[in-house]
Amino acid sequence: MSDTALTAGRADVVPRRRRMTRRPTVGTVVCVVVLALGAIGMLAPFAYMVVTALKSAQHAYDLPPDWYPKEFQWQNFSDAIHGPLPLLRNLWNSAFIAGLTTIGMLITAPMAGYAFAHLRFPGRNGVFVLLLAALMVPIQVTVIPLFLIMRNLHLINTPWSLILPQVTGAFGVFLMRQFFLSVPRELFEAAKIDGANEWTIYRAVALPLVRNGLSALGILTFLTSWNAYFAPSIFLNSQDSATLPLALVLMRGPFSTGQINIIMAATTFAVVPAFIVYLIAQRWIIAGLTSSAVKG
């Protein structure tokens, strides 16, 4: 995370420059060319999506394909939104579920992460290992009892069936513990001597020190929920309760208008929020993902 970047930055300055003078630039050019070709392969499907989303029905299947939009059928987007599925409603469902899940996770995970990093209590390591073991239990294994629980609580077809199981989670606790461990303990000790209680120390001293960690956790939690398909496909069985990924699969399936340009318009509509989040929050996403791997 941030200190990884720092050490990498420092290491860059001297030895790398030396290396550059020895390394033939031909090698660098080859690297860049190979990476660029691969990058075209990564971008092409998205280009196809956007270009097709803007095509009229009669040109949607034209071959050879266009790689930049020649027509701008903005109508496709409103056709998708006002089609047989309530896409705006589905968008709201996705946002509501992902939003509340994220808020819940941002409350529960840092508290536990802080306790595991800096508070001493009997059984701490045992509880931590137990929570970590949850990483080995994907929702696919426990989905049957979860479904029965949600059914008994009459939460099927409500956002709560997805929010409740996700407001706590081992990954978040583990991630936040890593961030809290990188904060020197002395910072809290000083506050303790001043007589502050644990909650005050946590809120006023500890949390502000791990802002980057909170950003990373928040964004990763949001995206995980936003992208989820498996659990929503089990717990949400109506058009009105469906999330956006469910709605798009429905749209292509029995409710398909049969028009690829409309489906791609709906897909563009769904991908753009992820793209915007990525542009804004790339730094924290990368910090959150790499810190759990490299420091694990």
Binding site: A5, A8, A11, P15, R19, R23, G38, A39, M42, P45, Y48, T52, L63, I107, T108, A109, Y114, A115, R120, F121, P122, L131, A134, P138, V141, T142, V143, I144, P145, L146, P165, V167, T168, G169, A170, V173, E189, K192, I193, E198, W226, Y229, F230, S233, I234, P245, L248, R252, I260, I263, M264, T267, A274, F275, V277, Y278, I286, T290, A293, V294
Partner: protein, 312 residues
Amino acid sequence: MVADSRLSVPAAAVAAGTGDRRRLREARAGYLFVAPSLVGFLVFVLGPLIAVAYFSLTRYDVLTPPEFVGLDNYRRLLSDARLHTVYLNTIVYVVAAVVLINGFALLLAVLLHQRMPRFLTVIFRSVYFFPSLVSLVYISLIWQALFQRDTGLVNYYLGEVGVGAQSWLNSTSLSRWTVVVVDVWRNVGLAMLIFVAALQDVPAELEEAAQIDGAGPFTTFRKIIMPMISQAIFFNVTITVIGAFQIYESIIVLTSGGPGDSTRSVVMYLAERAFSSFQIGYASAIAMTLFAVILTATLIQFRLRRSWVHYE
């Protein structure tokens, strides 16, 4: 860690006898802070895990109460030809994902680690990583269009170079590789990102020293860099194994499991048994096998990691 943090408790506080009270207060705070996560774990992970283990020993159709049948469901696992097919498919997905995702990701990370203008590094990293953040459903919808036999771009460009049209989405032999392609395309960026972070932590002096000693780039990579990034390799292999065992929505979108069962995954079969046929008991036994496999894979990797991974 516990020991040295005790040492740092100010001596004055301990001497005054406030130490015990404070330690008690700290422990109470610790339990309260952990409580929400622990409750969530008990209710939504451990409880359901115990329940699924119990259901796997019963016949249960949701309408009538579960009836204990011992190991019947597990015996049925052994003779269920469809289950064997979906497990075989899933193993293909797992092996292909582990080899291809990590292979390509390592290659990309090494290329990206070479000296080049900073803006290029940032652009390439962003481009390769972006698909990992997009729902696999949307990615699969796009690729489904690209892989269409008559209207898809893949066959069009293959035709341009003289390759005949392929049935990417409904061929018993080919379609499972189509699923692999989409999976690799989507997930390679995440693994690459983790390798890049690990490579940045390899001290440049070490590479320098090896090169001065006359080691070629491949020897340097194998003997110096590979051991240094072994932890990242293990992490990536673990998450690709666990991820590939859960493969689901890409297949739903691309092939719906067909033709026949040729692309169907374990999780698809499990969901079908549980929520279409309401064979809760049998589906629970399938879920237990999935759990056993993931548990084993994780434990093996922990064990190997202890003996292989180089820690600084």
